[in-house]
Symmetry: C2
Subunit: 761 residues, 2 copies
């Protein structure tokens, strides 16, 4: 084996070069196109999206995971899904809901004491600075239970869940104000504020909507419920929201449907909700002065419901905080222009894009020019006093995104299964493209910010029907990538969505994301603080307090310390484990057989697996991430002694015994291996490896392994000195294992240098 390591090290460059040189395609491009039925246009689309190994995407999309309760992260233009981040639903790969640290986050998400293990995620939003997305944090709402999750984009982990104290359901979250002062969450189906009971016969009087402004503390990366407030609204079903920006900063806009306030009852002969909620030609857009509302809240003019401050409708009216304007039937998108001057709304049961002018709205408010009030006394601005343009787009206009080109927008048309490109300043349609099928929301690159990037648009289609290979009655959805760089839209790529039904997505330039590759040693990733149970190698220990056993543990390629843990039936055992690796991507897992625990321990992370040893037995624990060649050997035993069990005397009987010859054979092997390693070290250090941060980190990692090798060597030699050939041979074996790991890392470093044009110095 040593000889082969050596040959391999020396030959690496040669083999790769040979492989590259001879790997010209046997088939010509024309032959491939003919075989696969591709047109020239397909080939251009392929070239616009195909990303060779190691290539980077230009934009990253954060898409709601719908009923999966997760966030889906993918790259544009490659349309490759990079990660699912769990927010409301436990997910064992990430250890989310399976380690004690993340269970504490899910615990925050209990509603009225009820444990909820899923979420219906709808609208993600990235933190903004001056109206531009900044890539620091991500918010996502749960429609089913009114909650907001906060995900750190430093490590792509969920770090907080807040429960709305007054709403029964919500939808219009999350949208952020231009400096992420507040995260906006609006109700969906009306309820009794505070989640109390009232008979449906008193719907108009007792049921209400509301919008909540959650205060975000950027420094802590946490929402502060104690500094948040809500405004009571009529029992229209509030829907999406958007914050004003630039000239309209300080205002927010929330649309609604079922302004008819209809209560169905098809079972008792009443027409169903869908009839009663879609009878009128218009619903209401709510226009809210949130900066003024903040002052009113700070002045204490609030009613406390479930310890949460609510500005009543009467106060909101008296203080001039809320206004209404008619908007087209059953709208589902309200989108403020980059300059903050316009607000575009589509009505799913209408045919037009309606462009509201903030200047006109403001003028009407300032002049006190209202067409009347709604049944609750809220001033209503006449539509003609607020509208800049209405443009016929097609059937089912739903959501609008802004291009980098001035005045250009894209609106999804649900019923027509099209996207309309149009000019909202002049009010004319520029182009249309058919998509497959039934588009809901759409997302342009940073298309909701003060500085849209254009280039790409993604249609979030609700149905896929015949677009993909069949996978049973439950179909994937279809995100279609559209090139918007030219005058005409071009369909580039169909991406099946394999999990959940995304509702809404938001995109950011990839360069704005600078996540960690490792944690500071001993980090509790859910709090960001040092974990109180973190230990360094050598500090591992087992502590018992009555029936509570704490195992302070480390994990490194390829063993846990400790490897044997003995407890008594009925004990509660906490494994508090720190991954002591520093190498990028060297994640370890931890599971105990037949128990409901799994940890994902990225380099530097500390996490806790807690179990109740309720049954006697000997349970294997093991690393659940394929971390190294000896990954399967990265294991241990939790021995749970039966109650009252008396241990029989007797030392461990070795399965296999070793002699002096075995020791000599192993050490001779190790000496030869060291020569090989030395040759790699020479190869690397003779080159400008310090110009490559990735290689510097690999070299540090290899150095660690060689230090461990030296420790194992010392133990082997100590045992040999005592003629304990059993331990001498095995420690010599361990010394060799560390050498192999160092060689593996060295090889990776050498390959990287070769592939990235390092030069001999």
């Amino acid at each position: 084996m040593v000889k082969t390591i050596h040959k391999r090290l020396l030959a690496t460059t040669g083999i790769v070069a040979m492989s590259m040189a001879m790997s010209a395609s046997a088939e010509t491009l024309d032959e491939v196109m003919a075989r696969r039925g591709l047109t020239q246009q397909d080939l251009v689309s392929a070239a616009k999206t195909y990303t060779p190994t190691g290539g980077r995407d230009e934009f990253i999309v954060f898409s709601s995971g719908g009923q999966s309760g997760q966030i889906m992260v993918y790259g544009v233009p490659s349309m490759r899904i990079l990660k699912y981040v769990s927010v409301f639903t436990p997910e064992p790969w990430q250890g989310y809901g399976f380690d004690e640290e993340s269970k504490a986050i899910l615990e925050q998400g209990k509603v009225d004491g009820r444990e909820i293990q899923w979420g219906d995620t709808h609208h993600p939003a990235i933190t903004e600075t001056n109206g531009d997305v900044d890539g620091e944090y991500l918010f996502i709402n749960d429609k089913s239970a009114p909650r907001i999750g906060v995900v750190s984009l430093h490590d792509f982990e969920t770090q907080q869940i807040v429960v709305n104290p007054i709403l029964q359901s919500e939808h219009g979250g999350t949208f952020v104000t231009p400096n992420s002062e507040y995260v906006i969450e609006a109700a969906q189906y009306p309820g009794v504020l505070g989640r109390g009971y009232a008979p449906l016969s008193q719907f108009n009087e007792k049921f209400r909507g509301a919008v909540t402004y959650w205060k975000f503390n950027r420094e802590k990366g946490r929402i502060e419920p104690e500094n948040s407030f809500s405004i009571e609204l009529p029992p229209y079903s509030q829907d999406l929201s958007d914050a004003g920006k630039a000239v309209s900063d300080g205002w927010s806009f929330t649309n609604s449907f079922c302004a008819e306030r209809y209560v169905g009852g098809i079972e008792s002969g009443r027409p169903p909700f869908e009839a009663g909620c879609s009878q009128n030609d218009t619903d209401y857009l709510h226009i809210i002065n949130w900066k003024k509302a903040e002052e009113v809240y700070k002045a204490g003019k609030v009613t406390m419901i479930n310890d949460h401050p609510v500005i009543s409708m009467d106060t909101a009216i008296a203080e001039g905080l809320v206004f209404l304007v008619a908007e087209p039937k059953s709208p589902h998108g309200v989108d403020v222009s980059p300059d903050g001057k316009y607000i575009i709304v589509g009505g799913k049961l209408d045919t037009q894009g309606s462009v509201y002018s903030f200047e006109k709205i403001k003028a009407a408010i300032d002049a006190g020019k209202f067409s009347g009030t709604d049944p609750y006394g809220i001033p209503v601005i006449a539509m003609e006093d607020a509208i800049h343009k209405q443009v016929g787009l097609g059937l089912g206009p739903l959501h609008t995104q802004y291009d980098s080109k001035p005045c250009v927008v894209y609106t999804s048309l649900y019923v027509d299964s099209q996207v309309a490109k149009w000019d909202y300043c002049e009010g004319k349609v520029l182009d249309k493209i058919s998509i497959h099928y039934n588009i809901g929301h759409l997302v342009a690159m940073e298309g909701e910010t003060v500085n849209p990037k254009g280039k790409y648009l993604i249609a979030l289609n609700k149905l896929a029907i015949d677009r993909f290979n069949p996978v049973g009655p439950l179909h994937p959805q279809n995100h279609q990538l559209i090139d918007i760089s030219g005058d005409k839209m071009e369909l580039l790529y169909d991406m099946p969505v394999p999990l959940g039904e995304p509702h809404y997505a938001t995109a950011i330039s990839a360069e704005k994301l600078q996540p960690l590759v490792r944690y500071k040693y001993g980090t509790n990733s859910r709090t960001g603080d040092r974990h109180e149970g973190a230990v360094r190698p050598g500090q591992e220990r087992i502590e018992r307090d009555g029936t509570n056993v704490k195992v302070y543990m480390t994990a490194i390629r390829s063993h846990f310390t400790p490897e044997i843990v003995e407890v008594n039936e009925g004990d509660t055992v906490e494994f508090i484990i720190t991954n002591s690796e520093r190498a990028e991507d060297e994640t370890h897992g931890f599971a105990v057989s037949t128990y409901n625990v799994n940890l994902s321990l990225e380099p530097g992370k500390t996490a806790t697996a807690k179990i109740v040893a309720d049954k006697p037995g000997v349970f294997s624990y093991y690393c659940t991430e394929f971390c190294s060649a000896l990954h399967l050997e990265m294991t241990g035993f939790l021995a749970v002694r039966p109650k009252g069990y008396v241990e029989e005397a007797g030392a461990m009987a070795e399965g296999q015994t070793y002699s002096k010859d075995d020791y000599n054979k192993q050490t001779a092997n190790n000496v030869a291996t060291q020569e090989v390693i030395d040759s790699v070290v020479t190869y690397i250090t003779e080159r400008n490896f310090k110009d490559f941060p990735e290689v510097v980190s690999l070299v540090e990692d290899a150095t660690d392994q060689l230090n461990f090798a030296a420790e194992a060597k010392a133990k082997a030699e100590e045992a040999a000195g005592k003629e304990d050939w059993q331990n001498a041979t095995l420690w010599a074996g361990q010394w060799w294992q560390y050498q192999v790991k160092a060689a593996d890392i060295g090889l990776r470093a050498k390959t990287f240098l070769d592939e990235h044009g390092a030069v001999k110095q």
Copy 2:
């Protein structure tokens, strides 16, 4: 709006054609390549993988989802992920673990009474007929808790979980015999059979491995634990398995590591497991005559452990069921050749591919030619009496897959991060390709069957490191697609794995999969039987039995029946809902706000959401799949009256009232809409739509909607006859809603006909 529907219907073809004609790329292909830095070779790779909208993949891969406890399904060559199928972990999008029907499946997965909400899935296997994969069912194991999941490929749903009655952990599952008579599951870390306790000092005497043969009933699509058996094995850590085929049919092969039977204890100064388990140069390949074992089991020569029949080692030896042969150090793949004549094993700490000859093995067994026995008395065949060839491949050979070309195989090299292509008949290396990085298993198209398809190979890399845009310390893994059609392997595509760490995958020709697009009306998808709670439209009802309330419900675009459900605090409420749609992809969901329930109701499915109404309040329920333009209006209320609450008198106050004028306006609109619909119907029926099954199904669906429209029309006219303008107007609105749905379906049918070259007749 009617006018626009009309225009849209007539113009559809024109708009699409215009869009296609003018959508030539503004950028030329060369410009795109220059901008994106693509080489000519990249372009060929792009052409080999890019799949235009509506295109189909040639192969479907079922990949383990690792610690996510799921199955990942993706297409080749597009490498697009089509679906995650939940097996061991609850997943709300699919309703898995959130409806009562699937909870019953997860309940089967309890181990010794312990609820386990995740699985460490490793090795999927598709049912086989005569050694060829047939696409009917899929099996997947859980390493952490010794379990097998059974997924139906008719609907891609998990329908059974079986718990191994004797193992503490497992790994070597699932592998099927050539006609899926048995599903093979081998132990991993040794334990006391039956999961009892023994001190680790008695490891050699009391700890054991085993292999279980699970009987599969093809007709029922279920494993039959009552017809399954196990064979006791020594406490070597058994690993992967494979079933013999053709000449070796009736035999199975299971490898192992840590044949040293080492028990670590680094915390007490003992060398760690990784040293003691990797000291010897060889481990043991187990060779088992399962057909003979089946006879022994049927003859009753078994010991019952936890009511499960186990053939003891002594019996296995006496009956000639189990043999051993040395295999290279820490192997992790054992792969039988398509003709069943050879078995290839790689050792992760070795450098060779070892080709065993079944003929030689059989000859040695028949001749009783053994080199001795292992410590437990099992006959050991000398390696030289079993080996056909050993071929130096590189560092860390792990897993081998077979090409369609005779004698050609591919072996993953974990440490070298390469794939070796080699000839196992002649014993020579043909080609090598570098992958990124640390490849575990690999999968060739049907590469484990009697009839491999060649063409593509996928490297299941364990680390991605620098291949993708960064997404935090926890990286995706990287599945790399390799073209193996030519003499040289060519790397085509990098696919990030966004969820879980796949261990192993299996691929099948796409044409072999013929899943359902809808269920027979009222199906319980987890049993395949008619659901006892299924109702047809018109049969909906609410039944109360003490505090148990059953709501027999239907769901259709865009309402539930019933819409209002009133219960008392403390009641248990079951919503048993049937999706009465027939249209492909018309899935509805169902959630009750702040409750831990979500259903996925594909067309025809019946499922149950069960809640305890433990708190008074008025809870919205709603459809969680964006099913139609009025999806948000597909809602209802669960009113939970407080204990002792006395309802106040008083009818529902309408939020909005309607007059005769409103009725007349709505009906005039409806009449105009009907003319439009008639024109679509004419357009379709004048064409050869019956040649397109997809369109026939759409026409049926539209006809349904029009029948509903007629019913609503009758109700409207009845109310108008009584001068009840409120109900007359709203039912007329509902009549229009059905018309719009019919028009939507009609449009889709028309577009399909236009795009698929239907002709006027």
